[in-house]
């Protein structure tokens, strides 16, 4: 069937946009880059028989570390029929270039690698919304990790946001990746539950981030 135009303020469009942003954070986020949705410009929905519901989105994003610059992207989010246990299929195309984070990435990498004791932290942000500057990159890596969890666990009836990093522990590795074991609190808007989730993320300045399969 044809794709139907949705008002961008409609909740179903907003939910699909949150999935797209989660996916993009997982793919392109890092300790030096946190992408936030500035505006949902356009949304269409298509009901595909025997497959599921597909959303076509036009998004405007900003980098939280450089709010004056925005970047446009298009996204497609396909929620599978009877979507129990299957993550939505997501494709995102970024128009133009995201600003380079090479310098910040290298600096963070070397700082963490040269720590004598593994990094441990809790409650990021704290109750009053504070994030100590040296923990902001960890906060942004939590966005990457939770972006993965959000993408994997979203349905048309959920809208997840990272509410807080409850706990993070660095795990030293014999290879060149940095490893962080997170306990994140995810706020699910529809049920209003705040749910703890354990997720491990591996990161390297050249290789980017990944969530290992067993996480």
């Amino acid at each position: 069937s044809l794709a139907m135009e949705l008002p961008p303020s409609h909740f179903s469009a907003a939910r699909a946009a949150a999935v797209a942003v989660g996916y993009l954070r997982y793919l392109r986020g890092g300790p030096g880059r946190g992408l936030e949705l500035r505006a949902l410009r356009r949304a269409r929905r298509q009901d595909i028989d025997d497959v599921g519901h597909k959303y076509y989105l036009e998004l405007e994003l900003e980098d939280v570390l450089d709010k004056d610059r925005t970047v446009s992207c298009t996204a497609e989010v396909l929620y599978h029929l009877g979507s129990r246990g299957t993550a939505p299929d997501v494709q995102v195309t970024v128009q133009g270039e995201l600003s380079s984070t090479e310098e910040a990435d290298e600096e963070f990498y070397h700082r963490i690698r040269s720590l004598e004791k593994e990094l441990v932290a809790e409650n990021i942000p704290d109750s009053h919304g504070n994030v100590p500057p040296e923990l902001e990159p960890i906060h942004l890596l939590a966005w990457v990790a939770s972006g993965y969890v959000i993408w994997q666990n979203s349905t048309e009836n959920t809208k997840f946001h990272l509410a807080q990093v409850k706990h993070v522990k660095q795990v030293k590795r014999s290879d060149e990746d940095l490893q962080f074991d997170f306990v994140v609190l995810l706020h699910e808007m529809v049920s209003q539950e705040v749910l703890p989730w354990e997720v491990t993320v591996l990161w390297h300045p050249q290789h980017g981030a990944r969530v290992p399969q067993h996480s």
Partner: protein, 395 residues
């Protein structure tokens, strides 16, 4: 009353003063009693006795000077000085740009009520754990004038709302008499502000769990605690968009108005009988919504509420560019039954709006304190826009 200082030259004069002391009908109050010639004698004399005491002293050649010409003046000035000092101390010590405990908030409500003659702190009930539900009443006169209701913090983890409500209270109080719009508003209407609609939950977010949303009532037959107070109103109660499971964060409760925090507001508004607007603050998502939540059909006043909502969102945006989406609850966020503005609307309060304040998820419930005042300021512009419309339609 005057206070005299008497300088005795010899024992004889001291004896004269001791004689004076014994005359009870004069009602003299010696601050320093006559004892020895070298020591001064200070005495407070009631107005009626002043002339006769002075005449006596002069006839005896006893020297005196007037220490205090009018004691009441001195007492009045001292009282004023103390009040001003306390005010200065308070207003410079309440930081509207920080998050506060319930005790500090209640103290500030007392301060506002004492500083402004048209502001009164009233108690409309008690929470489950017996904490008072305090409402600030802004009224410049009249008798049961048409009124506006504003509440915050019904969901305790939404800290920017209680904080913004305090800033807004202070702003309204100080704007009366200086801002033309607020002055004309309060000259015609009363305003009732409940800054902490869920005090038990609020204390719990400070002491135990920052992410607590519900009340703290015990639920018979369950180990879980608390009811979602914004699913507990008698509007489509128990319908879609609320959970019947006690452990859920959107549990609607055993029955409508089962939560004393909700019932107290319902009773207050019904007994008052003359509310024209019902406005409630939540966070986060940056939304400005009107009924309905419990059903996905448009309210009868859809056109007017949509238009007013857009105007208010435009006012909000004018300050810092913050965008709020406007629409019915059902279209904008989700279908949700038992909500407060659906109840108020179905009970004849046409101008019923729910605000979801900053942000859109970057910090969510944990909005940094340095955003409290900007959030309060922009929200205030939206509220004002709505209130002005209500004022114009109510006169």
């Amino acid at each position: 009353h005057q206070v005299l200082r008497i300088k005795t030259k010899n024992e004889e004069e001291v004896k004269q003063l001791q004689l004076l002391e014994s005359l009870e009908h004069l009602e003299l109050d010696f601050w320093i009693n006559p004892s020895a010639p070298a020591l001064p004698v200070d005495v407070r004399i009631p107005a009626a006795s002043v002339q006769s005491v002075k005449a006596f002293l002069e006839s005896q050649g006893i020297e005196y000077s007037i220490l205090i010409r009018d004691l009441q003046d001195v007492l009045d000035k001292e009282k004023q000085d103390m009040a001003e000092s306390a005010q200065r101390q308070r207003s410079s010590s309440f930081d509207f740009g920080a998050y506060h405990t319930l005790d500090d908030i209640n103290e500030e409500l007392d301060h506002l009520a004492s500083e402004y003659s048209f502001v009164e702190k009233i108690q409309i009930g008690e929470s489950y754990e017996k904490r008072p539900l305090y409402v600030l009443k802004f009224s410049t006169g009249g008798s049961n004038r048409p009124a506006i209701w504003l509440d915050a913090g019904i969901h305790s983890r939404e800290w920017v709302t209680q904080a913004s409500a305090l800033w807004i209270a202070n702003q309204i109080a100080s704007d009366y008499g200086t801002d033309a719009s607020i002055t004309s508003l309060l000259d015609k209407m009363d305003l009732f502000l409940l800054p902490v609609a869920n005090p038990d939950g609020f204390v719990y977010t400070h002491t135990s769990n920052r992410m607590w949303r519900k009340t703290r009532s015990k639920i018979p037959g369950s180990v879980c605690v608390g009811v979602d107070p914004n699913r507990n109103w008698d509007a489509g109660f128990g319908g879609p968009g609320a959970s019947n499971k006690p452990c859920s964060d959107s549990y609607h409760g055993p029955s409508a108005n089962s939560e004393v925090e909700v019932k107290s507001v319902v009773d207050f508004i019904k007994n008052h009988g003359n509310f024209k607007a019902f406005l409630t603050l939540h966070s986060y998502s940056q939304l400005l919504m009107y009924p309905y939540g419990y059903k996905c059909t448009r309210p009868d006043d859809y056109a007017e509420l949509e238009s007013l909502g857009r105007a208010a969102a435009s006012s909000i945006r004018s300050l810092y560019g913050t965008t709020f989406q406007v629409g019915t609850i059902c279209n904008t966020i989700y279908q949700a039954s038992g909500g407060s503005i659906d109840w108020s609307y179905d009970n004849g309060i046409k101008y019923s709006f729910a605000f979801e304040l900053r942000d859109t998820g970057r910090y969510g419930f944990l909005l940094p304190a340095n955003q409290i005042i900007p959030a309060a300021k922009e929200t205030w512009l939206g509220l004002k826009r709505i209130m002005e419309h209500v004022r114009d339609k109510s006169s």
